[in-house]
């Protein structure tokens, strides 16, 4: 083998690679263990379940990550050209079967474990007594509609949409159910109650996301998509749009206020009083 001397036998590239990979592995482990940049605390039971599934996946993939990068660094160092003859090996059938099976079991196993949390969000209808709230995305604001004391959402008519006169959703004034509908630019929820959000859009695809809920759902024009959850903690949380919807996609921001029962009822009464005027 007559390659240039500088290529063969040199330990420098191998050592440098080992250093880089060890820094990679070390820093990754550090940032994950220290949770330097991490998820905010979850405020739903399904959120905690999702967090558990995330940790299991992280541990499994983390072990593989560390082993693979270290193995790469070690092999490149140990088998660098220092005049030895390479071992003539075509493969190892047993090894192939073993690592294929192991990988299949781990990967699919992780997927199977994750199904329950997904089902909590999407299979089955709303819990009895769930508070229904309609979430409407449009370029570039969110609006939230409550059915009001009659418990019914009024009819919407796209022809009547006019934010400048305070009718961003196009509520039909001729429909008696629409008179008591509450429309708010921010989302207010009573803590501890099951909630049903009905996600929709007036123009293009948007996406409703609150980190602490651990739930995201695209708002598709032409469809109404329900999601269900129950919150466990009060507080103010940011709502963002997570599907590219146009120029001001970055600016489509709202707040979710989770409050005690008493506070929520106070807020509702305030809104109804304003409606009556």
């Amino acid at each position: 083998m007559r390659l240039r001397k500088s290529c063969s036998g040199s330990a420098a590239p191998a050592v440098l690679l080992a250093i880089v990979l060890l820094i990679l592995v070390g820093s990754t482990l550090y940032f994950h263990i220290a949770k330097t940049w991490w998820f905010p605390p979850a405020i739903t039971p399904v959120g905690h379940e999702i967090d558990r599934q995330f940790m299991i996946t992280l541990v499994a993939t983390g072990i593989v990550f560390v082993l693979a990068q270290v193995a790469l660094a070690w092999m490149v160092f140990k088998y660098r050209d220092h005049g030895q003859k390479a071992s003539f090996v075509r493969g190892n059938h047993t090894l192939e079967v073993v690592w294929t099976t192991a990988t299949l079991i781990i990967f699919v196993g992780l997927g199977v474990m994750a199904q329950h949390a997904w089902g909590q969000v999407h299979f089955g209808g709303p819990a009895p007594g769930a508070v229904p709230i309609e979430v409407t995305g449009q370029q570039f604001v969110w609006n939230f509609r409550y059915p009001g004391p009659d418990g019914k959402f009024g009819k919407l008519n796209p022809k009547l949409i006019d934010a400048s006169v305070g009718n961003p959703l196009g509520l039909d004034p001729n429909d008696p159910s629409s008179k008591d509908d509450i429309v708010s630019p921010d989302l207010y929820l009573p803590v501890g109650h099951p909630i049903e959000l009905l996600i929709r859009s007036q123009d293009v695809i948007h996406s409703f996301f609150v980190r602490e809920l651990r739930i995201k759902q695209d708002a598709l024009p032409g469809m109404i998509i329900p999601i269900h959850f129950t919150t466990t903690t009060t507080g103010d949380f940011e709502i963002t749009c997570n599907q590219l919807c146009g120029s001001n996609h970055y600016h489509m921001h709202a707040m979710m206020h989770v409050m005690s029962d008493a506070d929520f009822q106070k807020w509702e009464q305030q809104q109804e009083a304003q409606n009556a005027q």
Partner: protein
């Protein structure tokens, strides 16, 4: 006994500059044209990404090239769209396959050219035309589109009222992609017919180099997937120009204006797009996987570990790639029950990729590793592929995708695989085959500096994006100012931007090395790396019909390195048994 078939009068190269270099029928020239087209596209794409990063790192900075020096939110999204479109289509889909594949597939199988040279030339010029049409979108009223490389409807279907650039710019974008589909279909057809029918005597399927297998499976995917995208583009054009409603539902009000369409389904666009889109990303990586196996073997002086497993895993990835498209749509509103099926299939497709990684490590094990620049990039590929692949395991689970979808985590994941690993495969291929293509050596020392800057740089750019994803930071945001938890992460954005500028600057080393070596690099011998496959058996420069009339017969597999009892540590594929020198 002769080692080759009886010599035949071989075709002469055409005279005249235009027919020799511009409208060439020679697969080597066409391959080079594709590589140069890809190099142009990647340059523009990379500059666009640096502009994006400057804007995110220093939001108030004046950026040259924009009106008043300000990058508006529309400008940012136009940059995002053009960056993605250029990189995915005109770099990742062209260079590894139509670039290197065109050049080396016929030679590696012992053929004089591709099956259909005229169609080959046509496919290049269609690609060139598609690039021109795409770039022209930036210069028309309204500018380039802002809907991303994925062009989701209705944003992409509604026309100008949906946003700036969504008028003529978007129409040009769709037209460009439709032309690109036609080009890719022609190219894929050529690759398949060539590999099926033009292999040299003795070159059975299981003796093909893994590069050929990579190109072959990729061509299968291309032929089956691009027709679907073409259909989707046609329907989208009709929605935009002919008032049909394939993708636009009724009752829409855009900025207070009623839309006169009804009944269409935005999800239909996503299904059609991603049915193409997922095989597409495997089209981007499969040739790279073949090249990496090839390079790792050559510079470990060992056969590829588990050649058969490598072939089966390439085939499995190819087949399964058509069954997983829904994992891009977990959050889209499609049936949550179908999400389970797509999730399981997506996790299953991770298995053959893992097998390949184990086999790459197995190839290195017990080897005699030479640290050429090409080999460094191949080793880097393995590291990057592991990292990028593992983050896919999170995204494959819908329960976790609920949080991570459309965050920077996804950007980190697909960049590590496509925007870095696949690029590393292209670098490995360039440093490896440059001596054969241009008869000169690239500067190895400069190449090594290029490698280290790039390898460290890309990890500095894309690892932090996973942490931004943990914080829930959304992608395709032109500014972090509206969301408190995104503003808090500004230091990380800044770090990424600085890393991006340094890494992009380091690529100058590559450009310099590439062009300077082409012009006055050190002359290369015929087989500088002591490779076994057929491209190293032909002289440099490669004759017009590749073999100067003496087409080879193949006697053995492609990676016969370090055979016990041989004088050399490699036995070329075309060497007749009686001519192989044994050790004393």
């Amino acid at each position: 006994m002769s080692t080759h078939a009886p010599s035949v009068h071989h075709a002469e190269a055409p005279k005249g500059f235009i027919r020799h270099y511009i409208f060439s029928l020679d697969h080597k020239i066409i391959g080079t044209q594709y590589i140069l087209l890809g190099l142009s596209a990647v340059t523009i794409g990379m500059i666009l990404s640096v502009l994006m990063r400057i804007h995110l790192g220093w939001p108030n900075a004046h950026i040259w090239g924009f009106a008043n020096g300000i990058m508006t939110p529309e400008d940012y999204l136009r940059t995002v769209t053009m960056h993605g479109t250029l990189m995915v289509f005109f770099v990742l889909t062209t260079v590894p396959q139509s670039g290197f594949g065109n050049y080396f597939l016929p030679i590696q199988i012992g053929a004089p050219d591709m099956a259909f040279p005229r169609i080959n030339m046509l496919s290049f010029w269609f690609t060139f035309l598609a690039l021109i049409v795409l770039l022209s979108a930036a210069f028309v009223p309204g500018g380039a589109p802002i809907s991303g490389w994925t062009a989701y409807a209705p944003l992409s279907a509604l026309g100008e009222i949906a946003g700036p650039g969504q008028g003529l710019g978007q129409t040009l974008w769709v037209t460009s992609i439709a032309l690109f589909c036609a080009a890719s279909l022609m190219s894929g057809l050529n690759f398949l017919a060539t590999t099926i029918d033009l292999r040299a005597k003795g070159l059975s399927l299981m003796r093909m180099p893994l590069t050929v297998w990579g190109w072959f499976i990729t061509a299968c995917l291309a032929v089956l997937a691009f027709g679907v995208l073409l259909a989707a583009c046609i329907l989208l054009l009709l929605d935009r120009l002919a008032f049909t409603s394939f993708f636009i539902p009724g009752g829409l009000s855009v900025s207070g204006q009623l839309v006169n369409h009804a009944g269409g389904s935005p999800l239909l666009w996503q299904h059609l797009f991603w049915f193409f889109g997922h095989p597409e990303v495997y089209i981007a990586i499969l040739p790279g996987m073949g090249i990496i196996s090839h390079v790792l073997s050559t510079f470990s002086r060992k056969p590829v570990f588990g050649y058969k497993a490598m072939v089966y895993s390439l085939s499995a990835i190819g087949f399964l790639s058509f069954t997983v498209w829904g994992h891009h749509m977990f959050i889209s509103g499609m049936s949550p029950y179908s999400a389970i099926a797509f999730s399981v299939l997506t996790l299953v497709i991770g298995v053959p990729s893992a097998i390949k990684t184990f086999n790459w490590l197995g190839t290195l094990w017990g080897g005699r590793i030479q640290f050429t620049t090409s080999m460094l990039f191949a080793i880097g590929f393995v590291s990057l592929f592991v990292t990028g692949g593992l983050s896919g395991i999170f995204l494959a689970q819908p329960a976790l995708d609920l949080y991570l979808h459309d965050t920077y985590y996804v950007i980190g994941h697909f960049h590590l695989i496509m925007g870095v690993a696949a690029i590393f495969a292209m670098f490995a291929a360039t440093y490896f085959w440059f001596p054969k293509m241009f008869g000169k050596h690239m500067n190895e020392n400069m190449g090594k500096v290029h490698f280290w800057f790039t390898f460290i740089g890309v990890y500095c750019i894309f690892m932090p994006m996973h942490y931004l994803g943990y914080e829930g930071d959304a992608r395709r945001y032109s500014s972090t100012e509206s969301v408190h938890y995104m503003t808090e992460m500004h230091t990380v954005y800044l770090f990424i931007s600085i890393a991006a500028i340094i890494t992009a600057s380091a690529q100058i080393l590559f450009y310099w090395n590439f062009f300077m070596s082409w012009i006055r690099g050190k002359r290369a011998e015929q087989n500088p790396w002591h490779g076994t496959t057929l491209e190293w058996s032909v002289p440099t420069p490669v004759p017009h019909d590749n073999f100067a009339g003496h087409f080879p017969i193949v006697y053995r597999g492609p990676y016969e390195y370090s055979l016990p009892g041989m004088a050399d540590d490699y036995v070329p594929q075309h060497l007749a048994p009686e001519l192989v020198a044994r050790s004393k």
